[in-house]
Each structure stands twice: as C-alpha cells, then as structure tokens.
C-alpha cells in the first residue's frame, strides 16, 4: 500500500503540480522565471561549483533519459562486459563531478557573506534535495552495481506504466530502500521544481543560436504608417 502511495500516486501529484505551477508562473510571474545568479558577487568559487555541477548533471540526466526511452539499446550495450564497465565508470565519474560541484555550490552559498545574502530558503530546499538525490544515486551505483542493467528492466517499465496511466508498482517492489528513496526524492524535486530557481532549466536560450545578431523592435507598424501618410 505504502509503495502504491509513493510510486503510484506521488508521481502523479508531483507531475500535476509541476505542470500547473510551471504554466501559471510563466503566465503570471514571468519576471521571476530565472535563477538568481550570484556570480557577480563572488566570481572565483562560482566556477568550481557551477561548472562541474552542470556538466556532470547533464551527462547523468542524459543517461537516465536514454535508459528510459531506449532500454533495449542499453541492455545491448551492457552485453559486452568491457562496455558495461566502461559505461558504469564513466557515468559514475560524472556523478561524482556533479556531487563535487554541488558541495562547492552549497559551501560557497553558506560561507561567502555576499553569496549567502542572495540565497533564499527555496534555494536551500533545492540544494538539500539535490544533495540527497546525487548522493543516493552515487550510493546506488557503488552499493548496487550494474544499475544501467536493472534500471532498464525495472524502473523503465514502471515509469512507462505511469505514463500509460496504469501504474504498476510491482516492477520496483523488490528494489532496495536506497533505490526507492532515489525515486521518491526525484518526484519531490519535480514537485518543487516550479516553485524554485530550477525553472531556469526551461528558459534555456536556444533561440539565440539562430536568431539575427541585432534585435530591433518597432512600436509602429511601419507599413500602416506609410499608408496613413499617403507616401
């Protein structure tokens, strides 16, 4: 029953909160849709926190996503022990990079007086959840190896069952507590996401790469002005 609440109900609650608040915040409080940078106030330590954290996390998240959408491919990759070892170690290395970055970020925010000044309670919630998430992830990787293999056969079908609106928690019932914790914490992060600085993920400036270099905005509709003037 507990499992059902945590893995059959919580994901939906978290996702609904995520969707509703994300959209509502974008529509009504667009001004707040970013992450308050403290690089301006403290420039040196910022590099050693932000850069390893983000790059590490991008790789780790990409691999999770891969296991979700292409479990067969992941299992094929793992069929060769050399590839299995290489894959596990590389991803673990990036996870450690993430953790190192995150610890640096949190320490810097706690110690540097200027950085602390611009750190809100919401930020601390984010750092706590992220720390637990990354630490438990590394714990799983070291205590219960070959995660890439069993993720594809347990968590992936469970997540797909959620997506089909027919939650089947039996896939993950036998998993150890630390793995279950990782799942629950992940959905907590998703639920907290729209209330915190994490929303900056959604406003990545991808359009920059193909827009015109200079931006000119006209208040006037030039063609209509011309018509009025008769010119």
């Amino acid at each position: 029953m507990n499992d059902f609440v945590l893995f059959g109900v919580l994901p939906y609650v978290a996702t609904v909160i995520f969707l509703v608040v994300t959209i509502q915040r974008y529509r009504q409080r667009k001004f707040t849709y970013s992450s308050l940078s403290s690089q301006f106030l403290e420039n040196r330590q910022h590099f050693f926190g932000s850069v390893p954290f983000h790059y590490g996390l991008l790789v780790v998240l990409a691999v999770h996503f891969l296991a979700l959408v292409a479990p067969d491919w992941v299992l094929w990759w793992n069929s060769d022990p050399v590839r299995l070892w290489a894959g596990e170690l590389i991803v673990l290395a990036f996870a450690v990079l993430t953790l190192v970055g995150l610890v640096n970020i949190a320490l810097r925010r706690a110690i540097h007086p200027l950085a602390r000044r611009v750190t809100s309670a919401g930020d601390w919630v984010v750092y706590a959840l992220l720390l637990l998430q990354v630490a438990s992830g590394i714990g799983i990787a070291t205590l219960h190896g070959w995660g890439s293999a069993w993720f594809a056969t347990s968590a992936t079908p469970w997540l797909w069952s959620l997506a089909r609106m027919a939650p089947d928690v039996s896939y993950i019932a036998p998993l150890p507590w630390i793995v279950k914790f990782h799942f629950v914490n992940a959905f907590l992060l998703i639920g907290f996401f729209p209330f915190t600085r994490l929303v900056h993920v959604l406003v990545m400036p991808n359009q920059y790469l193909w827009r015109r270099t200079q931006v000119v905005v006209w208040n006037w509709d030039r063609s209509r002005i011309r018509r009025v003037d008769g010119a």
């Binding site: 970013s34 106030l41 932000s50 400036p205 920059y208 790469l209 006209w218 509709d221 003037d229």
Partner: protein
C-alpha cells in the same frame, strides 16, 4: 538605402565642470533601489584616470565590444558559438570588486551610543550584507586626481603611450585632467544586444534607444561582459540586468533626459540623425583608423532630397525628418566635424559624441610677455599638456588627424572670437587661423553660437515620438478605460458589464 532615425547625443567636454549633477539626477530617478546602489547609468570620470568600473577601457581585461579581421565581425566575449560551453559560468564577467561594494553609515550609533568621553562615530556598513566594511574604493574614487601614480598612470589610454609621453603627463606643473561624463551610448551596433542569449535587449526601431526587457531577461549576464563601455549593470537583487533608458518616458513627452536637463554647464546636446542601416555590417569591418570617417559616412544629410525620399519610404514621419534637419548633433558631428565618438575601435558605433577638450596649454612667451600673435597659431594644440596621442586613443581610435582637425577648428573659433570681442588679434591673423582650420567665418560664428549661447530648444531638438498615433494603430485607446487605474503593474481583469 535603409534610412532610420537615431536619437544621438553630444557632450561638449570643454564646458564640463565635473560637478556630477547629472549623476545625481539619474541616481535619484532610476537607481536608488536595492540591488542598483552600485549602478551609475550616468557617471563622470576624471581623465586621465581609471574610470568606472576600474579600467573599463582595457578590453584585454574585460573583453567587451567586437573584434574584426576585416572579413568577419565577432563578439569578443561570448558570441553564438561560445555561449553554449560558457553558459554556466560567464568567463568575462566583471565582479563587484571591479565596481565597489555599496555602503552606508550606521547613523543610529550617533544617537544610541552610551555616554562616554569620545564622540560617537557612524561606521560604514555594507548595503548588501549590513555588516561593517572597510571601504577601499568607491564610485569616482579618483575624482580630480589627474597626475596621480595610482590612477592617472593606470589609465588604459595612457598605457599605450611612449614612456616619455607618460612621464610628461604626470610631471609636476604639467599635470592635466578633464572630465568625461558617460552614459549608455545607444550604439548603432550594440554588442549587448547581439550577445543577449534571451533576446531581452533590443534597439527601438523608431529612435534607436537601446532597451532591456525585464520580463525577458533571464540574467545570463552576457550583456555585462559584452558592453565595452560597461554600461549594462547586473542587479544582484532581481537577477536581471539594467541599463540607461535615455529617460525615454521623458523624451516621449518632449523633455530632455534628466542628466541632460540638469546639466549645469549646459554641455549636453541631443537630437536625432538619419543614418543608413544597410552600411552597418560592411563599415564595422573597416580598419581602426578609418572608423571615425566610416561612422560619419553612415550618418546621412537630412537635407538631401534622395535621403528625404528614402526616409519617407521607410515610414519616417515628416516631423522626424524636420527634427533631424535641426539636430545640433548632426552639425557638430557631420557638418563641422568637431565631435568624435569615444573608443570607436570597439566597433559598436556609439551615438554619443564628444567635443574633445582644448586642454590647458603651455603658453609661449616672447620678451616676457604672453605671445598670441606669432606664426604658430596652433602651436598651443601640440603643446597641450595631454599628448595628442592620449586624446586620440580616447576619441578617434588613435587617428590623430581627426582629433587635430577638431581641436584646430575649435582653436580657430576662439581666435576669431578673440579678434571680434577683445581685438588684440588682427583680422588677418584670425582669417589665416580660420583658413588653416578649414573653417569659414560664418561657420565659426555658428559654432560659437551653438557652443556658447544656445538656448534649451537649440540644445535639445527632440523629435516628436507620436506614440499616440502609433498606439492607435495597434490598440484601441478606449480598451482599458475604467479598468486599470494608476499604479497597477499587472492590469486586473476588467469587469465588462
């Protein structure tokens, strides 16, 4: 020809007395909020000096502006290719230390201190953390410190000079300084706009004012490193950047911006010019020494029938064209050629021009008397205390010819006025000076008039913005009647009966 109108500005440095009234007017209106205390959208620097933020002109440090090899034009800090790997940590972001940590004083201590033998003092406390701080630098810390070994000697423009020239600038009895008021230049090719990943910065089409949409800004800080003049600032409370808006709400109602309006020395002029936006990309790749002339090329003659026709075709209103014809900036920059853009080698094409100062000169003596008659009429320019090369680094990308021309013409105007009012210079000498400076008597009189006697209406020729017309075409002016009152930032839902 893609004719556009651009509000442009002119500061006459010979008239600036360095009183900072402009800075205070701006601060009181726009940047007295939390998070903006350290911002000076308008500031006045002492030159030679290090400026604000410290040594902003040194682009080997700040990486602002554009770079060109003649073929391509690239943003020096983070352009399209480099923004992706650098998005998590801006490698060229100036930090608070390059500006200063804002502070106030704990005035309450003056009243609440227990009785004692000593006078209580108000200690400085940080406006960010509230903790006591040891103030080491602040805005304008080098005010009036021309010749100082710490400030003047570290001026990036002076560093390019020969050791001899540098010595000369700091030698006793040769010390020199002048003031350089600075605001956002509302450039024709703004790097801040080009660098903004979110597309929050934009140039207003009608008047070329560069603005920053606070709702779209996501605080990537690319504009702060990209602007070579360091005139976009990061608000550490809101996490957004802010910059000079050229008081557009004032301009739209026909008033000059606050810093212009409050200028005690009446050094500031404002007017629109017409320019050809099509030329921009080609001209921005020219070699440094040609840039001053290239920018003048881009500015069009508003009396030329072809230009007027092209402007009309582009939807520029008759009244705006008329205003460009009366623009004082056009006269100083394009007709008289005595105003120059600051650091045009950054290739943003600043639309704020400066009339370079005729610095205190070393007077020449003949028989123990001040000499103002001998052959070298313009010797004073070359004998000016600040080497010509220094001013040229600042105002003409090192092109001394352009600078000398501007100074010579100003000197010729002085000579002709001295002949007219004091009379100790002969008419022949004055005529010779004018001829040598490529200036006619009518032109000299006009320069004199606009420099010394201009009224407010002549200094500020503000084109009508016609927002009422513009708005009526896209919006029903009655739409919000009786629904949104004064003071709402987000309009409440209107109840329609």
């Amino acid at each position: 020809m893609d004719v556009r109108s651009q509000i442009s500005m002119l500061f006459h440095l010979d008239k600036c007395i360095g009183c900072h009234t402009c800075s205070i007017a701006c601060k009181n209106i726009w940047t007295d909020r939390e998070g903006t205390e350290y911002m000076w959208w308008n500031n006045v620097e002492t030159k030679p000096g290090t400026g604000f933020p410290t040594q902003w002109e040194d682009q080997s440090k700040y990486k602002g502006g554009w770079e060109s090899d003649g073929e391509t034009l690239k943003i020096k800090s983070t352009g399209k290719g480099r923004i992706v790997p650098n998005i998590f940590h801006n490698p060229n972001l100036p930090s608070l230390d390059d500006y200063y940590e804002p502070w106030t004083y704990k005035y309450s201590d003056l009243f609440n201190a227990p009785e004692g033998d000593d006078q209580p003092t108000a200690i400085p406390v940080s406006k960010i953390t509230g903790q006591p701080i040891d103030v080491k630098a602040g805005p304008n810390w080098d005010d009036d410190l021309g010749g100082s070994k710490i400030y003047a000697a570290n001026d990036p423009n002076a560093k390019k000079l020969s050791p001899e020239q540098q010595m000369q600038m700091t030698a006793i009895e040769r010390l020199v300084f002048f003031y350089l008021p600075r605001i956002c230049n509302h450039c024709l090719n703004p790097t801040c706009v080009a660098a903004c990943p979110s597309g929050a910065l934009y140039k207003r089409g009608e008047d070329g004012i560069v603005l920053l949409n606070q709702e779209r800004c996501r605080g990537w800080r690319a504009c702060v490193s990209a602007c070579p003049y360091k005139k976009t600032y990061f608000n550490w409370v809101t996490g957004k950047s802010e910059k000079c808006i050229l008081c557009f709400p004032r301009l739209e109602s026909g008033q000059a911006p606050a810093c212009f309006h409050s200028c005690v020395g009446r050094i500031r002029y404002l007017g629109n010019v017409l320019y050809d936006a099509d030329l921009l990309t080609e001209i921005a790749k020219r070699p440094d020494s040609e840039l001053v002339e290239a920018q003048r090329e881009m500015i069009l003659d508003p009396h030329d029938p072809a230009v007027i026709a092209a402007a009309r075709k582009n939807g520029i209103h008759e009244a705006v064209i008329e205003s460009a014809q009366r623009s004082p900036v056009y006269k100083f920059v394009k007709v008289w050629k005595i105003a120059l853009p600051p650091h045009v080698e950054f290739r943003t094409f600043p639309m704020l021009f400066y009339v370079p100062p005729l610095l205190p000169v070393m007077s020449t003596k003949v028989d123990g008397r001040l000499d103002n008659q001998t052959a070298g009429l313009f010797a004073e320019i070359d004998q000016a205390r600040a080497p010509m090369a220094y001013l040229a680094n600042l105002f003409s990308a090192g092109n001394e010819g352009k600078l000398r021309y501007a100074l010579k013409k100003q000197m010729a105007v002085r000579i002709s006025r001295r002949q007219a009012t004091v009379g100790d210079i002969s008419k022949e000498t004055a005529d010779r000076a004018l001829a040598e400076a490529d200036c006619t008597r009518e032109e000299a009189d006009e320069i004199y008039r606009l420099t010394a006697l201009a009224t407010e209406d002549e200094r500020f020729v503000i084109p009508p913005f016609q927002r009422e017309m513009a708005i009526e075409m896209v919006e029903d002016p009655q739409e919000w009647k009786q629904s949104a009152g004064f003071g709402f930032r987000t309009s409440p839902q209107a109840k329609r009966l």
